[in-house]
Symmetry: C2
């Protein structure tokens, strides 16, 4: 079994979406200072690194991250790759790739974003998924969409149309997949967000298993 | 595919091992107060709820949680159940169950602890794994051991013999599995800790898949 770790490493001061809590990792007590064991602490936003959005992120009465069915987060997925010229994935892009998507209900997009993850600062012109692409995915019965930057939405779009369309139909969104080392194709996805009760999203560890 | 979620729900003020950072979950910005979306923050110790210990927890130069091979954390596992009379799992207990363990390299213990998880306070007399049992497991080539309370070690043992034996051989320890709803038997385990760089452990989501 070949396992690809497609999770962004979590470090103090790591890149976060603007306005989100900073990432802080600290040694609460340590062997070097006389403690018996090392015990670290972690503080971050629910949308840090590789993470899952639940409907509650944009719908205040929506499904929370601990309510997401695990069946959606584990199973076959298709990874599509887009060239560096693609700055927004539209319905037209997806229609042209419909055969590649096939009957998959979990769809992951690899874009130029995976290369942007090595940048030490937030990059606003990341490649996004346009609202009309979200509508197309929902119409096909897609259950999960994964992207390789911290948001699936165009930065400062003002509308949040992609989030509202997907989360309105309880489509799970994974943001911040680290796909630089993975080729397009079919995999088994396992994405397990922390079981945090009652909130809008949670950091996750995500892996792709080679078929 | 039947999926058992064996992860402890994470909530503000949830039970932590004494001396560990408290759990705090907060709404950083929210739709009820005029924000476009809900964005929560989370602060906790690396050994919160269902979590993984890496060697660095007790060996300052030891393997860190992001260095754990994912191959160890995904695969067949056997779940053994012990009666409420068992307050410490010893070598003798395991020798008597050797046939049940068979060739499994991932061994999970369900004890009275899973019932203790509903208690609102830390319980010091949880069932632990004795150092001689840890030695027996290491000698058999065990790669992962999972238990259903926040520590595998006897509370206030003073020696940390179980941790030192297991982590000294890079055996992965999962603590805080929530096993109340799961029967003894063989499963496929998936335990994915957050990819936090350079530290002693990390919160995880863990599931058992029915064979």
């Amino acid at each position: 079994m070949l396992i690809h770790d497609v999770s962004i490493p979590i470090v103090t001061g790591g890149v976060v979406y603007p306005g989100n809590p900073p990432i802080r990792v600290w040694l609460e007590k340590g062997i070097p200072t006389g403690a018996r064991s090392n015990v670290s602490g972690i503080s971050f936003g629910a949308h840090t690194g590789t993470h899952v959005d639940a409907a509650k992120h944009f719908y205040d009465d929506g499904q929370t991250v601990d309510e997401l069915p695990l069946e959606r987060l584990i199973g076959p997925a298709v990874l599509l790759e887009f060239g560096d010229d693609v700055r927004g994935i539209t319905r037209a892009h997806l229609e042209a790739r419909a055969a590649e998507i096939g009957r998959h209900t979990r769809v992951l997009f690899k874009t130029r974003n995976s290369a942007l993850q090595s940048r030490p600062e937030f990059v606003g012109d990341y490649t996004f998924v346009a609202p009309d692409a979200a509508e197309w995915l929902v119409a096909r019965g897609t259950e999960l969409v994964g992207v390789d930057y911290l948001s699936i939405e165009q930065f400062h779009s003002g509308q949040a149309g992609t989030h509202l369309t997907l989360l309105g139909k309880r489509v799970v969104i994974i943001e911040g997949l680290s796909l630089a080392g993975v080729r397009a194709g079919e995999y088994d996805l396992i994405c397990l967000p922390l079981r945090v009760v009652g909130i809008d999203g949670a950091p996750a560890r995500a892996v792709l298993l080679e078929k």
